[in-house]
Protein backbone atom coordinates (compact mmCIF):
# COMPACT_ATOMS: atom_id res chain seq x y z
CA UNK A 1 0.00 0.00 0.00
CA UNK A 2 1.47 3.36 -0.95
CA UNK A 3 0.48 6.39 1.07
CA UNK A 4 0.94 10.12 0.79
CA UNK A 5 4.01 9.77 2.99
CA UNK A 6 5.70 7.36 0.57
CA UNK A 7 6.68 3.89 1.67
CA UNK A 8 8.11 5.01 5.01
CA UNK A 9 5.13 4.07 7.24
CA UNK A 10 5.05 0.56 5.83
CA UNK A 11 8.80 -0.10 5.91
CA UNK A 12 8.36 -2.12 9.09
CA UNK A 13 5.50 -4.21 7.75
CA UNK A 14 7.56 -7.40 7.15
CA UNK A 15 9.08 -7.17 10.66
CA UNK A 16 5.70 -6.47 12.23
CA UNK A 17 4.19 -9.46 10.45
CA UNK A 18 7.11 -11.67 11.51
CA UNK A 19 6.74 -10.53 15.14
CA UNK A 20 3.01 -11.30 15.13
CA UNK A 21 3.52 -14.68 13.46
CA UNK A 22 6.16 -15.71 16.01
CA UNK A 23 3.97 -14.57 18.87
CA UNK A 24 0.74 -16.12 17.55
CA UNK A 25 0.86 -19.67 18.93
CA UNK A 26 2.01 -18.93 22.49
CA UNK A 27 -0.16 -15.81 22.79
CA UNK A 28 -3.32 -17.58 21.58
CA UNK A 29 -2.60 -20.50 23.93
CA UNK A 30 -2.22 -18.14 26.88
CA UNK A 31 -5.41 -16.28 25.87
CA UNK A 32 -7.50 -19.38 25.11
CA UNK A 33 -6.68 -21.23 28.33
CA UNK A 34 -6.96 -17.98 30.29
CA UNK A 35 -10.51 -17.53 28.98
CA UNK A 36 -11.42 -21.07 30.09
CA UNK A 37 -10.27 -20.17 33.63
CA UNK A 38 -12.25 -16.93 33.41
CA UNK A 39 -15.42 -18.91 32.70
CA UNK A 40 -14.68 -21.44 35.47
CA UNK A 41 -13.83 -18.65 37.90
CA UNK A 42 -17.02 -16.77 37.04
CA UNK A 43 -19.20 -19.81 37.74
CA UNK A 44 -17.40 -20.34 41.07
CA UNK A 45 -17.76 -16.64 41.95
CA UNK A 46 -21.46 -16.39 41.14
CA UNK A 47 -22.00 -19.66 43.01
CA UNK A 48 -20.22 -18.32 46.10
CA UNK A 49 -22.28 -15.11 45.91
CA UNK A 50 -25.57 -17.04 45.56
CA UNK A 51 -24.82 -18.86 48.79
CA UNK A 52 -25.26 -15.55 50.63
CA UNK A 53 -28.80 -15.35 49.25
CA UNK A 54 -29.61 -19.07 49.65
CA UNK A 55 -27.32 -20.45 52.36
CA UNK A 56 -28.53 -24.06 52.05
CA UNK A 57 -28.10 -24.26 48.28
CA UNK A 58 -25.61 -27.07 47.42
CA UNK A 59 -24.61 -27.09 51.08
CA UNK A 60 -24.63 -30.88 51.40
CA UNK A 61 -21.95 -31.52 48.78
CA UNK A 62 -18.56 -30.96 50.47
CA UNK A 63 -16.76 -29.88 47.28
CA UNK A 64 -19.37 -27.17 46.64
CA UNK A 65 -19.49 -25.63 50.11
CA UNK A 66 -18.65 -21.93 50.51
CA UNK A 67 -15.30 -22.60 52.21
CA UNK A 68 -14.09 -24.39 49.09
CA UNK A 69 -15.65 -22.58 46.13
CA UNK A 70 -14.67 -19.09 47.37
CA UNK A 71 -10.90 -19.85 47.41
CA UNK A 72 -11.34 -21.89 44.19
CA UNK A 73 -12.88 -18.73 42.62
CA UNK A 74 -9.99 -16.53 43.78
CA UNK A 75 -7.31 -18.92 42.53
CA UNK A 76 -9.06 -19.61 39.21
CA UNK A 77 -9.43 -15.93 38.33
CA UNK A 78 -6.04 -14.74 39.65
CA UNK A 79 -3.60 -17.52 38.72
CA UNK A 80 -5.69 -18.84 35.82
CA UNK A 81 -7.40 -15.94 34.04
CA UNK A 82 -5.41 -12.86 35.15
CA UNK A 83 -1.99 -14.50 35.02
CA UNK A 84 -2.39 -16.48 31.78
CA UNK A 85 -4.10 -13.68 29.84
CA UNK A 86 -1.61 -11.17 31.30
CA UNK A 87 1.40 -13.29 30.36
CA UNK A 88 0.06 -13.61 26.81
CA UNK A 89 -0.33 -9.84 26.48
CA UNK A 90 3.15 -9.14 27.86
CA UNK A 91 4.81 -11.69 25.55
CA UNK A 92 3.35 -9.81 22.57
CA UNK A 93 4.09 -6.38 24.04
CA UNK A 94 7.74 -7.19 24.85
CA UNK A 95 8.27 -8.24 21.24
CA UNK A 96 6.71 -5.01 19.94
CA UNK A 97 8.65 -2.76 22.32
CA UNK A 98 12.00 -4.47 21.56
CA UNK A 99 11.28 -4.83 17.80
CA UNK A 100 12.43 -8.45 18.06
CA UNK A 101 10.29 -11.53 17.36
CA UNK A 102 9.39 -13.57 20.45
CA UNK A 103 12.36 -15.71 21.51
CA UNK A 104 12.38 -19.23 22.96
CA UNK A 105 8.81 -20.07 21.93
CA UNK A 106 9.24 -23.68 23.14
CA UNK A 107 9.68 -22.29 26.68
CA UNK A 108 6.40 -20.40 26.36
CA UNK A 109 4.47 -23.41 25.06
CA UNK A 110 5.87 -25.56 27.89
CA UNK A 111 4.96 -22.71 30.25
CA UNK A 112 1.30 -22.76 29.16
CA UNK A 113 1.15 -26.56 29.61
CA UNK A 114 2.76 -26.55 33.08
CA UNK A 115 0.74 -23.53 34.20
CA UNK A 116 -2.55 -25.18 33.30
CA UNK A 117 -1.50 -28.50 34.84
CA UNK A 118 -0.68 -26.64 38.06
CA UNK A 119 -4.03 -24.85 37.94
CA UNK A 120 -6.05 -28.07 37.48
CA UNK A 121 -4.11 -29.72 40.30
CA UNK A 122 -4.40 -26.67 42.58
CA UNK A 123 -8.08 -25.81 42.05
CA UNK A 124 -8.94 -29.53 42.17
CA UNK A 125 -7.10 -29.84 45.49
CA UNK A 126 -9.04 -26.91 46.97
CA UNK A 127 -12.40 -28.37 45.90
CA UNK A 128 -11.45 -31.81 47.28
CA UNK A 129 -10.47 -30.32 50.63
CA UNK A 130 -6.68 -30.22 50.35
CA UNK A 131 -6.26 -26.44 50.59
CA UNK A 132 -3.45 -25.11 52.79
CA UNK A 133 -5.98 -22.71 54.32
CA UNK A 134 -3.69 -19.69 53.80
CA UNK A 135 -5.48 -17.01 51.76
CA UNK A 136 -3.98 -16.48 48.26
CA UNK A 137 -1.59 -19.39 48.99
CA UNK A 138 -4.17 -22.19 49.12
CA UNK A 139 -2.48 -24.40 46.50
CA UNK A 140 -0.53 -27.45 47.72
CA UNK A 141 3.23 -27.41 47.06
CA UNK A 142 3.09 -29.64 43.94
CA UNK A 143 0.76 -27.16 42.19
CA UNK A 144 2.96 -24.27 43.35
CA UNK A 145 6.05 -25.98 41.91
CA UNK A 146 4.38 -26.44 38.49
CA UNK A 147 3.23 -22.81 38.35
CA UNK A 148 6.58 -21.45 39.58
CA UNK A 149 8.38 -23.41 36.87
CA UNK A 150 5.86 -22.18 34.27
CA UNK A 151 6.46 -18.57 35.34
CA UNK A 152 10.26 -19.01 35.18
CA UNK A 153 10.00 -20.37 31.62
CA UNK A 154 7.85 -17.36 30.67
CA UNK A 155 10.33 -15.01 32.37
CA UNK A 156 13.25 -16.65 30.51
CA UNK A 157 11.59 -15.99 27.15
CA UNK A 158 10.80 -12.36 28.03
CA UNK A 159 14.37 -11.69 29.23
CA UNK A 160 15.84 -13.37 26.12
CA UNK A 161 13.69 -11.21 23.81
CA UNK A 162 14.68 -8.13 25.83
CA UNK A 163 18.39 -8.99 25.63
CA UNK A 164 18.23 -8.93 21.80
CA UNK A 165 16.32 -5.61 21.65
CA UNK A 166 16.78 -3.34 18.64
CA UNK A 167 15.52 -0.25 20.49
CA UNK A 168 17.93 1.69 22.71
CA UNK A 169 15.33 3.22 24.97
CA UNK A 170 13.62 0.99 27.53
CA UNK A 171 9.99 2.16 27.36
CA UNK A 172 8.13 2.61 30.66
CA UNK A 173 5.91 -0.45 29.98
CA UNK A 174 9.04 -2.54 29.64
CA UNK A 175 10.24 -1.40 33.07
CA UNK A 176 7.02 -2.72 34.58
CA UNK A 177 7.36 -5.99 32.64
CA UNK A 178 11.00 -6.51 33.68
CA UNK A 179 10.24 -5.73 37.32
CA UNK A 180 7.42 -8.29 37.31
CA UNK A 181 9.41 -11.12 35.71
CA UNK A 182 12.28 -10.65 38.19
CA UNK A 183 10.29 -10.03 41.37
CA UNK A 184 7.19 -12.20 41.07
CA UNK A 185 8.93 -15.62 40.88
CA UNK A 186 11.09 -14.62 43.88
CA UNK A 187 8.00 -13.58 45.85
CA UNK A 188 5.96 -16.64 44.86
CA UNK A 189 8.66 -19.14 45.79
CA UNK A 190 9.68 -17.48 49.06
CA UNK A 191 6.09 -17.03 50.30
CA UNK A 192 5.31 -20.71 49.60
CA UNK A 193 8.32 -22.06 51.55
CA UNK A 194 7.01 -24.32 54.31
CA UNK A 195 9.12 -22.64 57.01
CA UNK A 196 6.78 -20.09 58.60
CA UNK A 197 4.59 -20.27 61.68
CA UNK A 198 2.60 -18.03 64.01
CA UNK A 199 2.62 -14.26 63.58
CA UNK A 200 5.48 -14.45 61.04
CA UNK A 201 3.28 -16.66 58.85
CA UNK A 202 0.49 -14.08 59.00
CA UNK A 203 2.86 -11.29 57.99
CA UNK A 204 4.34 -13.38 55.15
CA UNK A 205 0.81 -14.26 54.03
CA UNK A 206 -0.19 -10.59 53.52
CA UNK A 207 3.25 -9.51 52.39
CA UNK A 208 2.68 -12.05 49.61
CA UNK A 209 -0.97 -11.35 48.86
CA UNK A 210 -0.51 -7.61 48.48
CA UNK A 211 2.73 -8.01 46.55
CA UNK A 212 1.08 -10.41 44.12
CA UNK A 213 -0.81 -7.24 43.12
CA UNK A 214 2.26 -4.99 43.45
CA UNK A 215 4.79 -6.96 41.44
CA UNK A 216 2.57 -8.95 39.09
CA UNK A 217 -1.05 -7.93 38.46
CA UNK A 218 -0.64 -4.13 38.66
CA UNK A 219 2.50 -4.08 36.48
CA UNK A 220 0.57 -6.14 33.89
CA UNK A 221 -2.26 -3.58 33.85
CA UNK A 222 -0.01 -0.51 33.84
CA UNK A 223 2.34 -1.88 31.16
CA UNK A 224 -0.71 -2.34 28.92
CA UNK A 225 -2.18 1.09 29.75
CA UNK A 226 1.11 2.91 29.06
CA UNK A 227 1.34 1.23 25.66
CA UNK A 228 -2.23 1.14 24.39
CA UNK A 229 -3.56 4.57 25.44
CA UNK A 230 -0.94 6.58 23.50
CA UNK A 231 -0.70 3.95 20.76
CA UNK A 232 -4.40 3.85 19.91
CA UNK A 233 -4.88 7.61 20.30
CA UNK A 234 -1.78 8.24 18.22
CA UNK A 235 0.13 10.66 20.41
CA UNK A 236 2.82 10.02 23.03
CA UNK A 237 2.23 9.99 26.79
CA UNK A 238 1.63 13.58 27.98
CA UNK A 239 4.69 13.70 30.24
CA UNK A 240 6.81 10.69 29.53
CA UNK A 241 9.46 11.76 32.03
CA UNK A 242 6.83 11.79 34.79
CA UNK A 243 5.88 8.20 33.90
CA UNK A 244 9.43 7.06 34.74
CA UNK A 245 9.27 8.86 38.09
CA UNK A 246 5.99 7.00 38.56
CA UNK A 247 7.63 3.64 37.91
CA UNK A 248 10.51 4.13 40.35
CA UNK A 249 8.32 5.50 43.16
CA UNK A 250 5.93 2.60 42.52
CA UNK A 251 8.86 0.17 42.88
CA UNK A 252 9.97 1.93 46.07
CA UNK A 253 6.65 2.20 47.95
CA UNK A 254 4.28 -0.55 46.84
CA UNK A 255 6.14 -3.55 48.30
CA UNK A 256 5.72 -2.21 51.87
CA UNK A 257 1.91 -2.21 51.74
CA UNK A 258 1.02 -5.78 52.73
CA UNK A 259 0.76 -5.42 56.51
CA UNK A 260 -2.11 -2.90 56.16
CA UNK A 261 -4.28 -6.03 55.87
CA UNK A 262 -3.36 -6.84 59.49
CA UNK A 263 -4.00 -3.43 61.08
CA UNK A 264 -5.38 -4.06 64.56
CA UNK A 265 -4.00 -7.59 64.55
CA UNK A 266 -1.29 -9.15 66.76
CA UNK A 267 1.52 -7.68 64.66
CA UNK A 268 4.11 -5.17 65.99
CA UNK A 269 2.64 -1.67 65.81
CA UNK A 270 5.65 -0.18 64.02
CA UNK A 271 5.22 -2.74 61.23
CA UNK A 272 1.58 -1.71 60.78
CA UNK A 273 2.49 1.99 60.83
CA UNK A 274 5.22 1.58 58.19
CA UNK A 275 2.71 -0.21 56.00
CA UNK A 276 0.10 2.54 56.40
CA UNK A 277 2.69 5.22 55.57
CA UNK A 278 3.77 3.32 52.46
CA UNK A 279 0.12 2.89 51.43
CA UNK A 280 -0.38 6.65 51.62
CA UNK A 281 2.92 7.28 49.78
CA UNK A 282 1.39 5.31 46.88
CA UNK A 283 -0.53 8.50 46.11
CA UNK A 284 2.64 9.76 44.36
CA UNK A 285 3.02 7.02 41.69
CA UNK A 286 -0.77 6.82 41.31
CA UNK A 287 -1.00 10.56 40.63
CA UNK A 288 1.72 10.31 37.97
CA UNK A 289 -0.27 7.57 36.23
CA UNK A 290 -3.63 9.30 36.59
CA UNK A 291 -2.38 12.71 35.38
CA UNK A 292 -0.53 11.18 32.46
CA UNK A 293 -3.30 8.94 31.23
CA UNK A 294 -5.93 11.62 31.61
CA UNK A 295 -3.92 14.34 29.84
CA UNK A 296 -3.01 11.92 27.04
CA UNK A 297 -6.66 11.00 26.50
CA UNK A 298 -8.20 14.46 27.01
CA UNK A 299 -9.54 15.91 23.75
CA UNK A 300 -9.79 12.40 22.30
CA UNK A 301 -12.65 11.00 24.33
CA UNK A 302 -14.62 10.78 21.07
CA UNK A 303 -12.35 7.88 20.12
CA UNK A 304 -14.08 5.81 22.81
CA UNK A 305 -16.98 5.56 20.36
CA UNK A 306 -14.87 4.20 17.52
CA UNK A 307 -12.21 2.11 19.27
CA UNK A 308 -13.78 -0.63 21.35
CA UNK A 309 -10.35 -1.72 22.65
CA UNK A 310 -9.68 1.83 23.90
CA UNK A 311 -13.07 1.89 25.64
CA UNK A 312 -12.10 -1.08 27.84
CA UNK A 313 -8.60 0.33 28.41
CA UNK A 314 -9.72 3.80 29.47
CA UNK A 315 -12.33 2.23 31.79
CA UNK A 316 -9.49 0.17 33.29
CA UNK A 317 -7.17 3.17 33.66
CA UNK A 318 -9.86 5.25 35.41
CA UNK A 319 -10.56 2.32 37.73
CA UNK A 320 -6.85 2.14 38.60
CA UNK A 321 -6.95 5.71 39.89
CA UNK A 322 -10.16 5.05 41.82
CA UNK A 323 -9.03 1.79 43.41
CA UNK A 324 -5.64 3.19 44.36
CA UNK A 325 -6.98 6.26 46.16
CA UNK A 326 -9.59 4.05 47.81
CA UNK A 327 -6.82 1.68 48.94
CA UNK A 328 -4.68 4.46 50.42
CA UNK A 329 -7.66 5.75 52.41
CA UNK A 330 -8.66 2.25 53.47
CA UNK A 331 -5.26 1.59 55.05
CA UNK A 332 -5.82 4.32 57.69
CA UNK A 333 -6.60 3.02 61.19
CA UNK A 334 -9.60 5.35 61.60
CA UNK A 335 -11.14 4.12 58.33
CA UNK A 336 -10.44 0.44 59.06
CA UNK A 337 -12.28 0.79 62.37
CA UNK A 338 -15.46 0.85 60.29
CA UNK A 339 -14.60 -1.00 57.08
CA UNK A 340 -12.36 -3.91 58.12
CA UNK A 341 -14.05 -7.35 57.95
CA UNK A 342 -17.01 -5.98 55.96
CA UNK A 343 -18.14 -6.45 52.35
CA UNK A 344 -16.43 -3.13 51.55
CA UNK A 345 -13.10 -4.97 51.25
CA UNK A 346 -14.62 -7.32 48.65
CA UNK A 347 -15.83 -4.30 46.67
CA UNK A 348 -12.33 -2.79 46.78
CA UNK A 349 -10.75 -6.07 45.63
CA UNK A 350 -13.09 -6.30 42.63
CA UNK A 351 -12.58 -2.65 41.70
CA UNK A 352 -8.89 -3.55 41.47
CA UNK A 353 -8.72 -6.94 39.83
CA UNK A 354 -11.89 -6.60 37.75
CA UNK A 355 -12.62 -2.95 36.89
CA UNK A 356 -8.89 -2.21 36.50
CA UNK A 357 -7.01 -5.40 35.57
CA UNK A 358 -9.66 -7.49 33.81
CA UNK A 359 -11.09 -4.61 31.75
CA UNK A 360 -7.51 -3.69 30.75
CA UNK A 361 -6.89 -7.31 29.69
CA UNK A 362 -10.11 -7.36 27.63
CA UNK A 363 -9.05 -4.17 25.81
CA UNK A 364 -5.53 -5.45 25.14
CA UNK A 365 -6.85 -8.82 23.93
CA UNK A 366 -9.30 -7.11 21.57
CA UNK A 367 -6.32 -5.28 20.07
CA UNK A 368 -3.77 -8.13 20.03
CA UNK A 369 -5.91 -11.15 19.01
CA UNK A 370 -6.79 -10.05 15.43
CA UNK A 371 -3.15 -9.17 14.79
CA UNK A 372 -1.72 -12.53 15.86
CA UNK A 373 -4.66 -14.62 14.56
CA UNK A 374 -4.70 -12.65 11.27
CA UNK A 375 -8.49 -12.50 11.52
CA UNK A 376 -10.70 -9.61 12.61
CA UNK A 377 -13.52 -9.83 15.17
CA UNK A 378 -16.60 -10.96 13.21
CA UNK A 379 -19.25 -9.11 15.27
CA UNK A 380 -18.29 -5.63 16.59
CA UNK A 381 -21.80 -5.28 18.05
CA UNK A 382 -21.05 -8.18 20.39
CA UNK A 383 -17.90 -6.43 21.64
CA UNK A 384 -19.99 -3.41 22.55
CA UNK A 385 -22.49 -5.66 24.36
CA UNK A 386 -19.58 -7.28 26.21
CA UNK A 387 -18.39 -3.85 27.31
CA UNK A 388 -21.76 -2.61 28.59
CA UNK A 389 -22.62 -5.86 30.40
CA UNK A 390 -19.29 -6.03 32.23
CA UNK A 391 -19.00 -2.27 32.84
CA UNK A 392 -22.54 -2.02 34.25
CA UNK A 393 -22.06 -5.30 36.14
CA UNK A 394 -18.86 -4.25 37.89
CA UNK A 395 -20.18 -0.76 38.74
CA UNK A 396 -23.24 -2.34 40.39
CA UNK A 397 -20.98 -4.87 42.11
CA UNK A 398 -18.60 -2.26 43.54
CA UNK A 399 -21.41 0.15 44.43
CA UNK A 400 -23.46 -2.52 46.24
CA UNK A 401 -20.58 -4.09 48.19
CA UNK A 402 -18.94 -0.78 49.15
CA UNK A 403 -22.14 0.96 50.26
CA UNK A 404 -23.55 -2.19 51.87
CA UNK A 405 -20.18 -2.82 53.53
CA UNK A 406 -20.05 0.73 54.89
CA UNK A 407 -23.52 0.35 56.45
CA UNK A 408 -22.52 -3.10 57.73
CA UNK A 409 -19.38 -1.65 59.37
CA UNK A 410 -21.33 1.15 61.04
CA UNK A 411 -23.88 -1.34 62.34
CA UNK A 412 -21.21 -3.75 63.61
CA UNK A 413 -19.64 -0.94 65.63
CA UNK A 414 -22.98 -0.32 67.33
CA UNK A 415 -22.92 -2.62 70.38
CA UNK A 416 -26.68 -2.21 70.90
CA UNK A 417 -27.47 -3.75 67.51
CA UNK A 418 -28.04 -7.54 67.48
CA UNK A 419 -25.72 -9.36 65.06
CA UNK A 420 -28.61 -10.94 63.14
CA UNK A 421 -29.92 -7.44 62.38
CA UNK A 422 -26.58 -6.59 60.78
CA UNK A 423 -26.79 -9.73 58.64
CA UNK A 424 -30.35 -8.81 57.60
CA UNK A 425 -29.18 -5.31 56.69
CA UNK A 426 -26.67 -6.63 54.12
CA UNK A 427 -29.14 -8.92 52.31
CA UNK A 428 -30.34 -6.57 49.53
CA UNK A 429 -26.76 -5.55 48.72
CA UNK A 430 -25.69 -9.19 48.47
CA UNK A 431 -28.63 -9.89 46.16
CA UNK A 432 -27.50 -6.97 43.96
CA UNK A 433 -24.03 -8.51 43.92
CA UNK A 434 -25.37 -11.81 42.59
CA UNK A 435 -27.34 -9.95 39.90
CA UNK A 436 -24.22 -8.05 38.86
CA UNK A 437 -22.30 -11.34 38.76
CA UNK A 438 -24.84 -12.73 36.29
CA UNK A 439 -24.47 -9.62 34.05
CA UNK A 440 -20.67 -9.98 34.16
CA UNK A 441 -20.96 -13.70 33.41
CA UNK A 442 -23.13 -12.98 30.35
CA UNK A 443 -20.41 -10.59 29.12
CA UNK A 444 -17.80 -13.31 29.57
CA UNK A 445 -19.84 -15.79 27.52
CA UNK A 446 -20.01 -13.27 24.66
CA UNK A 447 -16.24 -12.70 24.91
CA UNK A 448 -15.50 -16.44 24.88
CA UNK A 449 -17.83 -16.94 21.89
CA UNK A 450 -16.13 -14.10 19.97
CA UNK A 451 -12.69 -15.54 20.69
CA UNK A 452 -13.80 -18.97 19.44
CA UNK A 453 -15.22 -17.33 16.30
CA UNK A 454 -11.86 -15.73 15.52
CA UNK A 455 -10.02 -19.02 16.05
CA UNK A 456 -12.52 -20.76 13.76
CA UNK A 457 -12.20 -17.89 11.24
CA UNK A 458 -15.89 -17.15 11.09
CA UNK A 459 -17.31 -14.23 9.16
CA UNK A 460 -16.37 -12.96 5.69
CA UNK A 461 -12.92 -13.96 4.36
CA UNK A 462 -10.31 -11.36 5.23
CA UNK A 463 -6.60 -10.81 5.38
CA UNK A 464 -6.40 -9.81 9.03
CA UNK A 465 -5.30 -6.57 10.62
CA UNK A 466 -2.13 -4.82 9.55
CA UNK A 467 -1.94 -6.57 6.20
CA UNK A 468 -2.12 -4.52 2.99
Amino acid sequence: VSTALGDQPDSLLPLRRQMDEQAALPVLLYFGTGILWLLAGTVLGVGASLKFNAPDWLGSIPALTFGRIRPAHLNAVMYGWGSLAGAGCLVWLTSRLCLVPVQWRACLIASVALWNAGMVYGVGSILLGYSTGVEWLEFPLAAVALIALAFLLYAASILRTFSLRKVDHVYVSLWYILASVVWFPLLYVVANLPIYSGVVHGVVNWWYAHNALAVWFTPVGLALAYYFIPKIIGRPIYSYYLSLLGFWTFALFYNWNGVHHLVGGPVPNWLQTISIIASVMMVIPVLTVAVNHHLTTVGNFGMLRTSLALRFIVFGAMSYTAVSFQGSMESLRSVQETLHFTHYTIGHAHLGVYAFLTMMLFGAMYYITPRVARWDWPRPGWISAHFWLTAAGILIYVGATCWGGFLQGRALNNAAKPFTDVVELTRPYLMLRTVSGVLIGAGHLIFAALFAQVLRRMGPPQEGIGTP
Partner: protein
Protein backbone atom coordinates in the same frame (compact mmCIF):
# COMPACT_ATOMS: atom_id res chain seq x y z
CA UNK B 1 16.92 -10.93 70.83
CA UNK B 2 15.42 -14.17 69.56
CA UNK B 3 14.91 -13.91 65.79
CA UNK B 4 13.14 -16.85 64.10
CA UNK B 5 15.28 -18.36 61.29
CA UNK B 6 12.44 -17.79 58.81
CA UNK B 7 12.77 -14.04 59.40
CA UNK B 8 16.47 -14.19 58.53
CA UNK B 9 15.50 -15.88 55.23
CA UNK B 10 13.02 -13.06 54.55
CA UNK B 11 15.57 -10.35 55.33
CA UNK B 12 18.12 -11.96 52.99
CA UNK B 13 15.53 -12.26 50.21
CA UNK B 14 14.34 -8.67 50.70
CA UNK B 15 17.92 -7.37 50.49
CA UNK B 16 18.53 -9.44 47.34
CA UNK B 17 15.36 -8.09 45.71
CA UNK B 18 16.30 -4.53 46.64
CA UNK B 19 19.85 -5.08 45.31
CA UNK B 20 18.43 -6.06 41.91
CA UNK B 21 16.34 -2.87 41.86
CA UNK B 22 19.29 -0.71 42.90
CA UNK B 23 21.52 -2.28 40.22
CA UNK B 24 18.82 -1.67 37.59
CA UNK B 25 18.43 1.93 38.73
CA UNK B 26 22.19 2.63 38.61
CA UNK B 27 22.36 1.08 35.13
CA UNK B 28 19.40 3.14 33.97
CA UNK B 29 20.94 6.42 35.18
CA UNK B 30 24.36 5.67 33.65
CA UNK B 31 22.81 4.53 30.37
CA UNK B 32 20.84 7.77 30.02
CA UNK B 33 17.49 5.95 30.31
CA UNK B 34 16.31 8.44 32.93
CA UNK B 35 17.51 11.63 31.25
CA UNK B 36 14.96 14.42 31.74
CA UNK B 37 13.39 14.33 28.30
CA UNK B 38 10.08 13.14 26.91
CA UNK B 39 11.68 11.68 23.76
CA UNK B 40 11.34 8.09 24.98
CA UNK B 41 7.56 8.36 24.77
CA UNK B 42 7.75 8.07 20.98
CA UNK B 43 9.37 4.62 20.83
CA UNK B 44 5.94 2.96 20.76
CA UNK B 45 5.46 4.39 17.27
CA UNK B 46 8.56 2.67 15.87
CA UNK B 47 6.43 -0.26 14.69
CA UNK B 48 3.77 2.12 13.45
CA UNK B 49 0.60 1.06 11.74
CA UNK B 50 -2.88 2.44 11.21
CA UNK B 51 -4.49 3.28 14.55
CA UNK B 52 -7.92 1.79 15.10
Amino acid sequence: MNIPPAVLVLIAVALAGAAVALAAFVWAVRDGQLDPTNAGGSVIFKDDEEPR
